[in-house]
Subunit: 258 residues, 6 copies
């Protein structure tokens, strides 16, 4: 399956309430991103925060994901707003900013992700337009609608400010981080993303996000978490970290003689 | 032509009102930067904002440009002041900071680009000194004068603050971004860098910059823009993006049989 | 334009007497290969003999070319038969072996390029099959017909053995090297690929190759050489070396003020 | 588990009839090799023939495998005897040469893999000695015994010459390639490594190899093949290609909602 | 010597008042970091501020240092708090932030370096845990104690705020930069790290740091500086920059015939 | 010191009996080669046989060495004649082929290293000509004289054939490998390059090489070996391996407190 420029975008599909499962690419190797995209995922998210990706591997990984026909998404490092614009220039269809804990954080994200008048993204999307097979003018016309800015909600502060964050014009949705939610809700005591407490909070975020007419995404450690999230109203589910997928499969294969 | 340490620096040449055309290196390949430098350009600007360059490619690209005999310049990502110091440490002769919209932005640029007492650049220029064939002490003595800090003027806010920005001690000049000017002046409606409106603004920037005794640079999409800019008083003209140069030439060559 | 698995292959197109112009990629940067493929060329040839390519850049460059929709071809180093198989495993649609001066050379090329019983290519084309969107079994069924082995004819010895070389089963065609032909025909005195002597020899090679029912390709320095080659009967014309295309265009752009 | 210099070597373990399962690293990323080594495998084989590895990725991948505590093995390209010595210099504990079809091929392998008087390996193992924590003199004393030269048996010609190949002094063992055996035994008609014909041949190779007092290894596509091979007398079983392990696991994870 | 997970950590050793000499890795090559670690150093510090390191080279360099058995430390660029978390995720045992000039700077460092409730470090240390051979839960339990946050004291502002900086909970110690101290104390006039003025200030910092119960580190240009620093109470001494070590040794070796 | 195109070539200097000391670059990092070239060496030899260099690092390392002003030399892997031509195309001024044990080996080296009529080197030296600042025609005119083909003499077979090897037209000289000489003369028992036996043989090689009017080079482990070699008549002395230089210096620096 190869995406043509007439295929629906990730933004379109999510706005039409389609559920999309994204792979989580932590390893800085473009061909692995392509392989994930060829394995059934609708999207591949390249992780620059906790994963191994850097500017070079994201630049190449977005093209490799395109070759697979999957949508490409990038999670940037915390507060790295310059990289938000850069990865969109490279052709990412969505960007996930971690630790958006306030309206100011959300505004900064929109500022970097959206062209004027919505934001202050600087002009230079030639690589992205090339990958879409569009002219620069066509890219400009569609960009603010077709490239998604997603804010991670993963702390008590973010929960407290959630409705205001959701009201920020240009913010397309949220992405829940259950690991950090567990850590921050427990004041550093544990990381149990599947706990009742975290899942209850997640469900609430989904409801409020959908009520605000925005996209709800979430990181899912276990398969049942992904199915549960879909029921909660989430539509953009991350499930499957490349390193874990490989090591679990390798653990089984290496034990073939036992 | 290979630059020796006794050749005039980019700073010296621009302060003597010499017109310099710089190539625009968007592709993260050092040998391409060298090739641009060998093709007649006075300088090669490595673009980390909208181009594909990262720390590694800039680090190598500056040395490759040095081998060509051309001056090396780097445009950093927005607000990435840490990289300002880093690329100067790698041997860039000038740094261009995008989206300098206020005196505070300009002060932050000078802070990162100039050693005390003018700024707060941290000590560690051994690679730059090696490329210049200088001792560290000699490098220190000349650095604040010989390495240029250029602020991009490309928004209404920057235009409003222009005279104050130009008054910032240690800021060596400005660099006009006609694409973003067009985008921001039209509130996101268009990118027409050659429009009368943008060109009129550019000419005004040139006049005010020269009046302040500083260097005026500009990005030029078309050949006539470059010649026009020179007449307006600009002296540092970017003209020729590697990717576009290649693709246009390739488009013609591939059509050889038609 | 993105090639789907149902598009005609390079082999099919050349066997149907279609004329194909290939870019010549000498720079070891995958995105440049993609850019060439997006500029109008039917194919991109990655050069490991005199160009800068190595195994890693060819591995990535073939995928990048695929993304552009162009066919990918690789010229290997002299006598590097192991790389013949490797680049086919990576998904190259044709391989060009330089300095095929004897039937033995041609047999070695076929041995490396074709599966049994035609040759002795070893099994392991999973990456190539992935890029074609084929199962391994389907790849096996088509490989000997769909991947081309082209022998460079560029010395007096090759000319003397030409008919026997052309008679080697599994050799799909020849590729003329006018530079080396000029050098070897002049006993090292000159490299004038457009000389009458070289062009006369080239024309003769085209005639004999077509008479043998095989594909005739040639490297063309000048545009008129490419058009002349087409008239001689060549159908696979290389025209446009990335480095030269860039440097000529850069030379013109850098002189914008003169 | 981190290997110390006093851990038994791969050679020792195999000579003591211990069964070792090796991962098959086809992707040119050192950290993936390390991850395979941490997943339970006794060894990691880096594949330069059909995999994506090149000199640089093998050089780094051997160190990464060392960090995991697993043994490192390299399969070189066909007839690439220079690389045999190079990967041993980099610290590989065994080298697998594909397509050893004659005594001459086996002698060339031994020539490259063993120091005089057994072979003609050239002196320069400083990196390998560093990774082992040995002095160069200690490395020399043990190298011919501690680094394994394994010949792939995968064609009718190799089968015909098997006893003579096994008699070559310095050849430590064989490694069966069922895919190529299937292809060559069927004259190019099929690749069915698990067929009765291939498995019968494999069992015969195991018996004759053990009779000659040498090590028998084999590539195993399916888990039952690996267990069957152990019963046949094989002790060095490759099972689990990184790319396949990842894609199968990703295929399952991406279908979480279905 | 290979570090096992039961070896004492860098934090433990420094808290037990052990003196540790760290190499200074300025060159972005992982194997050089490993070589430094194998040469007798207790730790290797990878420098992203003035050195050539970037995210990719640090990611690989930490693993390479681990292979050598030495502790790994990273100095980040100025104000690059996102990288503080990233390099800890990659497995660095300590992070050095340059230009910590205020309590706010110190708080930001702690925020990025420590998990809640001490800081706001986000959860994702799987690579670091893998390198330590720990489960994620065990990593969480020890992380805030076992990974060090060190603040560079190198300006008059930092000196003025020193006691308050030292009082910041979660800040593990300071690292003195004599080069920048010399530069800033002289208002840009000189860089003489061994001057009496600088050394007197350094001694005072050591005393106050130890009084606050924290770790004192310092960069030492000359051997006598390192010995002097130990006497002043410093315990983490950087001495030996890879590039200088190499060039001085090469200068001597190249003059062998003179 | 930067080499200009009018500086004497390495070939010229050696033919005028000038003694040149070359660094030995084993680490695949171009900037280290440049650093060696800036440290006083006349030349830098990039080692692809036992060192870590590959095609990519040699391609970049030659340019980096050029930037330093030193001459660049490459030692290729054993029998890798394709790489002989490639590294000359990249701009190496000399190539050293290991294990030249017969006249046939020497002829193959000359075949790859020299243009017709002397050899069969294929045409494509555009990068080398660019680095020299020459036109392709000028490069052709000088290449066979200005690029050196050096054969390693390091086995009893080579010693036996030495006079015939020296008589091969186009072979510019020999390079003695005392390590392998020691190993092969002792039938694998030892590597003692400074032994009387090896040094006596080396001295004899120097005499016979000079008598044949050719260049004599040698690898020198110890400083006294280099001085001794010069007295024996050698003029191209390798002394100083980057890894050893670094590790010895690091060993001393890390012990600063002891
Ligand atoms: Mg999180
Ligand atoms: Mg702009
Ligand atoms: Mg040719
Ligand atoms: Mg096989
Ligand atoms: Mg400092
Ligand atoms: Mg040798």
């Amino acid at each position: 399956m190869t995406a043509s420029s007439s295929s629906p975008s990730l933004a379109e599909r999510l706005r039409h309430d389609e559920a999309i499962v994204t792979a989580w690419s932590s390893l800085a190797m473009p061909m692995l991103a392509e392989a994930l995209g060829r394995s059934g995922y609708g999207a591949v998210t390249l992780d620059m925060q906790h994963g191994q990706h850097d500017i070079a591997s994201v630049r190449e990984g977005i093209a490799a994901t395109r070759l697979s026909g999957a949508h490409s998404v990038v999670r940037t490092p915390v507060d790295d707003f310059a990289s938000v614009s850069r990865v969109l220039d490279f052709g990412a269809e969505a960007v996930i900013m971690p630790m958006v804990n306030s309206v100011d954080d959300a505004l900064a994200l929109v500022g970097a992700a959206k062209f004027p008048p919505m934001g202050a993204r600087s002009w230079g999307p030639h690589r992205a337009a090339m990958l879409k097979g569009e002219s620069p003018a066509a890219y400009l016309a569609g960009a603010n609608r077709e490239t998604l800015a997603l804010a991670m909600i993963e702390t008590p502060a973010a929960l407290a400010a959630l409705d205001d964050i959701l009201a920020v014009d240009g913010l397309d949705g949220v992405f829940v981080g259950p690991g950090d939610l567990s850590l921050t809700l427990s004041a550093g005591a544990e990381v149990v993303p599947g706990s009742d407490r975290v899942q209850t909070v997640a469900a609430d975020i989904a409801v409020r996000t959908r009520a605000a007419g925005k996209i709800a995404g979430i990181f899912c450690n276990a398969a049942e978490d992904a199915r549960g999230a879909q029921k909660m109203g989430f539509r953009f589910m991350a499930h499957g970290v490349d390193m874990s997928l490989l090591m679990e499969a390798a653990g089984a294969a290496s034990a073939v003689l036992d």
